[in-house]
Amino acid sequence: MAKITYHTHDNKTHTVDVQKGLTVMEGAVQNDIPGIDADCGGGMACATCHVYVKEEWLDKLPAKEDGEEDMLDMAFEPKNNSRLSCQLIVSDELDGLEVNIPSKQG
């Protein structure tokens, strides 16, 4: 298990234990955290699991594949710290990760 913190747009903070090997997207969906739609189910085909990663975690994450950057073009208000949460696999290294969920996903 690793602790992942999701800050939602309504200024609420949800810290949940997510099983290692699952994605940050799945952690949100399984714990009913609002704002992660994940329409395509993790296929990097929809950009509705878009999150902003807290700056200090950015360089601990795996690099983006081209497909992820292309999909982020479609995301709602993408920024430099934008990632698709379906591409972030939870591991010991990500224990404590914090992400912000945008106000909407489309």
Partner: protein
């Protein structure tokens, strides 16, 4: 009024195979889809990408899968209603009266929702005031390009639609192309062409910029764009175009009295009927314990839902289980000549 046994909502692989299963058991159907083409997510999201988990098909693309399904349902001459979104359902004694966005009406015995994750709608600008100009000087698709002649157009996006329209419109209009990063997702040849046009002064390319605000009274007069580093530029624009792909919205399905949980419709696993008699849901849009969002699951769900429709379409007849290998009736419906 189109009278048929079953209306299928959604022309993705699940909807297409359900049509096949209906045809095999002797029921007629018509299919409505909000997109302008058949294939659903397979065509809209990944036409060229390979799929490896269709049983007995080691590898195929979304486009090939769609074409094969169309080939398979050809004997049934199914009527498609594309560019139409189902808006209204009304129960009319034992049948359903259905109306689409374009005013097409159906009289059917049962409805199968194979709507994926909803209908595809253009993704819009996050900036609020854009709504005010939408459809008048701000667009997410182009219907009549002649209105842009000799005008100044600001195009946002980095995919093929944005690049193709920037290139095309630069012949007759003054084009600004604005994209949030230096890289583009469109094809390399178009990216090169856009850079060439920019170097020749035939188009103005702004990268690492995003829309900040839109100015104007009745029509757009200019847009402010903001650089990653905070710099804001104001550029004159008569029209603004946004090409950010499509997003899926459940839309009117929410108003049909169905049990909905997290954007999916709850069904039973015996025949994939919803809580409303005569309305079935299959594919990505349905949920039940153990649901897998796989195309193969959608095929199974469609086969059972088709049989579930039978009692509504032919209440006085009994459906007998048959194999296509040996059933004379099924082979006749498929137009097999021996």
């Amino acid at each position: 009024m189109n009278k048929t046994d079953v209306l299928i909502i959604g022309a993705g692989p699940t909807g297409l195979f359900c049509a096949h299963q209906l045809g095999i058991i002797g029921l007629s159907c018509e299919i409505v889809d909000n997109l302008d083409k058949v294939g659903g997510q397979c065509i809209e999201l990944y036409p060229d990408k390979p799929i490896y988990d269709i049983p007995a098909v080691p590898e195929c693309t979304g486009e090939e899968l769609t074409n094969n399904l169309l080939q398979q349902i050809k004997p049934f001459n199914i009527k498609f209603h594309l560019n139409e979104r189902v808006e209204e359902l009304k129960k009319n004694e034992s049948r359903w009266h259905v109306k689409t966005s374009g005013g097409v009406e159906f009289d059917v015995a049962a409805i199968v929702i194979a709507g994926g994750v909803g209908s595809f709608e253009p993704r819009k600008f996050p900036v609020k005031e854009c709504e005010k100009f939408e459809g008048n000087s701000l667009f997410y698709s182009i219907k009549d390009k002649s209105i842009f002649k000799d005008k100044t157009i600001s195009i946002f996006g980095g995919g093929d639609s944005a690049l193709d329209w920037a290139i095309e419109l630069s012949n007759t209009s003054k084009v600004n192309l604005i994209h949030r990063r230096d890289g583009f997702s469109g094809v390399e040849a178009s990216v090169q062409k856009v850079k060439e046009l920019n170097d020749q002064g035939k188009l103005n390319l702004y990268t690492k910029f995003q829309l900040d605000s839109v100015l104007g009274d009745k029509n757009i007069e200019s847009v402010k764009i903001k650089h990653d580093e905070g710099e804001i530029k104001e550029i004159k624009s008569d029209y603004v175009l946004g090409f950010f792909g499509l997003i899926m919205q459940l839309g009117p399905i929410l108003d049909w009295g169905l049990n909905i949980d997290k954007k999916t419709v709850q069904v039973n696993t015996e025949n994939f009927e919803t809580n409303v008699n005569g309305i079935f849901a299959i594919g990505d849009i349905c949920s039940y314990p153990g649901k897998l969002k796989l195309i193969l699951s959608g095929f199974h769900e469609g086969a059972l839902a088709a049989r579930g429709c039978f009692k509504y379409a032919k209440p006085d007849e009994k459906l007998r289980f048959e194999f296509t290998t040996t059933s004379k009736a099924a082979q006749e419906r498929l137009g097999i000549k021996k």
